[in-house]
Amino acid sequence: MTDLVLAWLTDPAHWTGQDGIIQHTLEHLGYSAISLLIAAAVAIPAGLVIGHTGRGRFLVVNLAGAARAMPSLGLLFIMVLVLGPRLSGDAAFLWPNLIVLIVLAIPPLLSGAYAGVEGVDPAARDAARGMGMSGSQVLLRVEVPCALPLLFSGLRSATLQVIATATIAAVAGLQGLGRFLIDGLAVHDFPQMVSGAVLIAVLALLADLVLALVQRYAVSPGVSGRRLRERVRRRGPDTLAEGLQVR
């Protein structure tokens, strides 16, 4: 089986063209990026405001729970069946699927942003206000930088959710890497299915890796604790006690 999969993956004919690996990878990335952008534009500001004001906490908690229980396959099908006939051409499959991707990306982004801001040390927030920062200054200069670790973990789980659902969406007519799985299944071409699965797994891992790297550079070491650990490693355990005397 391994030989067959390797043979499939190394066959240049499978990489190019309309149904090639490159084309499907770009589609997969494109769907994921668009859905995440739209979802983030809605969810992150909403989550920040909810965390900042403390109003609407109930909504976030329940939405996150409900979204986890929703079977994505059922949502994709119902959306295509309901909206598909009202749209024409490629849009008939594209938008119903994208809408589901967006809807499923919103809860993790929302709860990440919300939980990040809500978890900011109240004393830091109080001090910021006491120094004369306006509400938006407190949010942008103190709360958001401190919320970044959780914001990023929300973004990372939303990304994985979207990549996984975009794969399944191939059953409901979407392009992307899921095609190799679904089309391979239809003709019992198992090397193609397994190759597709490998490609999807690699894509998901790479996407997570890239976001992890971005997070590393975007988050202040004072919040992520990275610098603290490095210092300890460099200078030995003595600094541990000194460096980590956290209240």
Partner: protein, 215 residues
């Protein structure tokens, strides 16, 4: 919803399948995650590789994982056991970190007191550390349970019978009713799993209720 009335038996059968495919991996996954989490806690060097490793497993999309199972474990293609193994992997992936962190959150003074009273390591784990870690582990288990129920339905694509079949069936016939029944059934099932774990946690941690704490 006459469709549902006519197909109650079929839906119940699929539900039973669904409970089996989502529930059994939950139990096996917990049994595997407990010792792994304990090891990650006990030996600090293991924490990073364990949590990062299981985290990577969790990033693999479900449909891809289902299809990769026979390739990796040599099982028959399209066999339900592939779904069981994949769901167990997800459960372990989610719970190892939870168990390690839950054990880490047990107050140190309690552990020290237990040591001072002469509890040995193994006995201490079962008598003191594990019970106190139950609320946190249970929270992780609830997340795993609810997402397992949702993910299992994806296996309908590779023809494994459970509630997800209602989706593919309805889609192929352009017929809403089975899809809607399937979504409702999946959601209710997720809720039931959640409640069962919640109740079990309450029974296991009577002190939480006495203190007015959350389960």
């Amino acid at each position: 919803m006459t469709w549902f009335a006519d197909h109650v038996g079929e839906v119940l059968g699929l539900t039973a399948q669904h409970v089996y495919l989502a529930g059994l991996p939950l139990l096996i996954g917990l049994l595997i995650a407990l010792p792994l989490g304990w090891l990650a806690r006990r030996y600090r060097v293991l924490y990073a590789p364990f949590t990062v490793g299981t985290g990577l497993l969790y990033t693999i999309p479900s449909l891809a994982l289902f299809i990769l199972m026979p390739f990796i474990f040599g099982t028959r293609i399209l066999d339900p056991v592939n779904v069981l193994i994949a769901m167990t992997i997800y459960t372990v992936a989610l719970l190892v970190r939870t168990v390690a962190d839950a054990l880490g959150a047990v107050p140190d003074h309690v552990v020290q007191a237990a040591r001072a009273m002469g509890y040995r390591r193994v006995k201490r784990f079962f008598a003191v550390e594990l019970p106190l870690a139950v609320p946190v582990i249970s929270a992780g288990l609830r997340v795993a349970a609810v997402s397992n129920v949702s993910i299992v339905s994806v296996a309908a694509i590779i023809g494994v019978p459970q509630l997800g079949l209602l989706f593919t069936d309805g889609f192929q016939r352009t017929f809403y009713d089975p899809i809607i029944v399937g979504i409702v059934a999946c959601t209710v099932l997720a809720l039931v799993f959640d409640l069962v774990i919640l109740l079990a946690t309450r029974l296991l941690t009577p002190w939480q209720r006495a203190a007015g704490g959350r389960a």
